[in-house]
C-alpha cells in the first residue's frame, strides 16, 4: 500500500493522495443517499456508511478510504447522547463529570466495525483503510461547550482548572479503546483529528494535550497520523507525540512545516481547500506548487490542509488527484 510505504518513509515514484472529507456533500451520489437518510442513519447503517466511504474511490484513484463516521461517534457509546443540526449538539457536561465517563460500549459501535469490514471487502487491496477519532482535547471541547463554539470559553476555562487533566485522561483511555476496536476490525492506520488544539498555548499543549495524545497513540499497533489545524505555534511539539506522521494545515508552506516538525518526519498536507472552489487549471497549478514544496522527499502524503468544503466542484477534486497521480518523482530520497 502506497500510503503505508510513505508512512514508512520508503522511496516512492509519487506521494500517496487522499483528502480529508473526501466522502461527503460535494458528491452528488452522497447527496442522493442523504436525500433518503439523515446523517445519523447514514453513519450508523453499515451498508450505507460503507457505500459512502467507497463513493470517492469509484471516481478518483485515491490511495486511501477513510471510514465514514464522526468525531462524535464514540460519545453515544459512552452514554452521551448527541444530535446533529447539522453540527453536533449535546447537553454540556462539567469537566469534573467528563472524568467519570467510561469506555465506549463495543456493542453500541458495532455498526462501525461492521462498516470497516464492508469497506475492506469493497476496496482494491492496494488502497489503505483509515480509521479515525477526535483527540482528547477536541472531545473535551465538544463535551464542555455542548457542541462547536466560536470562542470555546468553557474549554478554555477548564484548561485553567484542576479538572482538565483527569478529564483528558478519561477521554484518552476511551479514545484508545475506541480506536483499538477499529484496528481489530481491520483499519490499516488511524488519523487523530485535533480540531481545537490550536486554541491552546504551548505550555497548555505540553502539560495537558500532549500526554493524552501519547496515551491514545502508544502501542496502538497501526501507524498513526496526528492532525491539528491552526497550530503553527505548536508544530515543534508534534514529534514528541509519537505519531507516525503529522498533518499540517495550508497556512504554512510545507518546507517550513518540515523545518518545525523535523526533516526526518512524515508530513501530510497541505493544499488550501479553498483552491478547490476555483477552477481545474488553478487547482492543477496550486497542486503542483505543493508537490514542488515537498520536493522529492519520501515521507510526504498529499492531502488538503483541511477538509473538503461543501460547495467544492467535483471536477476540481478530479484535477487535484490527477495532478498528483501524474506527478512522477525523479530521484526520490
Amino acid at each position: 500500500m502506497r500510503l503505508l510505504a510513505a508512512l514508512g518513509r520508503q522511496p516512492l515514484d509519487r506521494p500517496p493522495v487522499w483528502l480529508m472529507r473526501q466522502a461527503g456533500r460535494y458528491l452528488p451520489e452522497y447527496r442522493a443517499i442523504r436525500a433518503k437518510h439523515d446523517f445519523l442513519q447514514a453513519m450508523t447503517t453499515p451498508e450505507l456508511a460503507a457505500e459512502i466511504t467507497l463513493q470517492p474511490l469509484r471516481r478518483f484513484p485515491l490511495d486511501a478510504a477513510i471510514v465514514f463516521a464522526d468525531i462524535m461517534s464514540p460519545l453515544p457509546a459512552m452514554g452521551v447522547e448527541v444530535a446533529f443540526d447539522p453540527g453536533p449538539r449535546l447537553t454540556p457536561i462539567a469537566p469534573e463529570d467528563v472524568a467519570l465517563l467510561g469506555d465506549p460500549d463495543p456493542a453500541r459501535v458495532a455498526y462501525l466495525t461492521e462498516t470497516i469490514k464492508l469497506v475492506r471487502e469493497g476496496l482494491d487491496p492496494a488502497v489503505a483503510t483509515i480509521g479515525f477519532a477526535g483527540a482528547p482535547v477536541t472531545l473535551l471541547a465538544y463535551l464542555v461547550e455542548g457542541g462547536g463554539s466560536r470562542q470555546l470559553p468553557a474549554l478554555r476555562r477548564a484548561l485553567h482548572s484542576d479538572a482538565a487533566s483527569p478529564a483528558l485522561e478519561t477521554l484518552a483511555r476511551a479514545t484508545r479503546s475506541y480506536l483499538r476496536l477499529q484496528v481489530e476490525a481491520g483499519v490499516d492506520l488511524v488519523q487523530i483529528f485535533d480540531t481545537w488544539a490550536g486554541w491552546l498555548t504551548p505550555s497548555q499543549f505540553r502539560a495537558l494535550a500532549a500526554p493524552a495524545i501519547r496515551h491514545v497513540i502508544e502501542g496502538l499497533g497501526v501507524p498513526t497520523i496526528y492532525f491539528a489545524p491552526g497550530a503553527a505555534h505548536l508544530l515543534d511539539q508534534f514529534p514528541a507525540l509519537g505519531a507516525t506522521g503529522y498533518g499540517v494545515d495550508w497556512r504554512l508552506p510545507l518546507d517550513e512545516a518540515w523545518r518545525l516538525i523535523g526533516e526526518d518526519r512524515v508530513v501530510q498536507g497541505n493544499l488550501d481547500p479553498a483552491v478547490l472552489l476555483t477552477d481545474p487549471d488553478t487547482v492543477r497549478r496550486a497542486t503542483r506548487a505543493v508537490l514542488d514544496e515537498a520536493g522529492n522527499r519520501s515521507g510526504h502524503i498529499f492531502n488538503l490542509g483541511h477538509g473538503v468544503l461543501p460547495d467544492t466542484p467535483v471536477e476540481c477534486v478530479e484535477a487535484m488527484v490527477t495532478e498528483v497521480v501524474e506527478s512522477v518523482r525523479v530521484g526520490a530520497r
Copy 2:
C-alpha cells in the same frame, strides 16, 4: 498619557493597561442600558455610546477608553446595510462589487464623532481615547460571507481570485477615511482589528493584506496599534506594516512575540481572557506571569490576548487591573 508614552517607548514605572471589549455585557450597568436600548440604538446614540465607553473607567483605573462602536460601523455609511442578531448579518457582496464601494459618508457616522467628543469631555486628561476600525481583510470577510463564518469559504476563494486586490484597496481607502474622521474628532490613537488575518497564508498576507494595512496606517497622524489573533505564522511580517505597536493573542508567550516581531517594537497583550473566567487569585497570579514575561521592557501595553468574554465576573477584571496598577518596575529599560 501613559499609553502614548508606552507607544513612544518611554521608560515607565508600570505598563499602561486597558482591555479589548472593556465596555460590554460583563458589566451590569451596560446590561441595564441594553435592557432599554438595542445594540444599534446604543451604538448610534452619542449620549448612550459615550456613557457605555466611560462605564469601565468609573470602576477601574484604566489608562484608555475605547470608543463603543463596531467593526461594522462604517458599512452603513458606505451603503451596506447591516443587522445584528447578535452577530452582524448582511447580504453577501461579490468581491468584484466590493471594489465599487465608496468612502463612508461623514454625515452617516456623525454619531461616532459626536460620541468621541463626549468621551473626551468626560475623561481624565491622563486617559487616552482610542478609536478603531476593522482591517481591510476582516471587512472583506464580513462583506463576502455576509457575516461571521466558521470556515470563511467565500473570503478564501476570493483570495485566490484577481478580485481580492482591488476590493482590499477600496476597503483600505474607506477605512483610512473613516479613521481620519475619528482622528479629527479627537482620538489619541487608533487600533486596527484584523480578526480574520490568521486565516491567510504568509504569502497571501504579504501580497494582499499587508499593502492594504499600510495604506490605512501611513501618515494617519496618530499612533496605531495593529491586532490580529491566531496569527503566530504572520508575526514576523508585523514590523513591515508600519504600526506603532502590535497586539498579540494569548497563545504565544510575550518574549516569543517580541522575538518574532522585533525586540525594539511596542507589543500589547496578552493575558488569556479565559483566565478572567476563574477567580481573583488565579487572575492575579496569571497577570503577574504576563508582567514577568514582559520583564522591565518599555514598550509593553498590558491587555488581554483577545476581548473580554461575556460571562466574565467583574471582580476578576478588577483583580487584573489592580495587579497591573500595583506593579512597579525596577530599572525600566
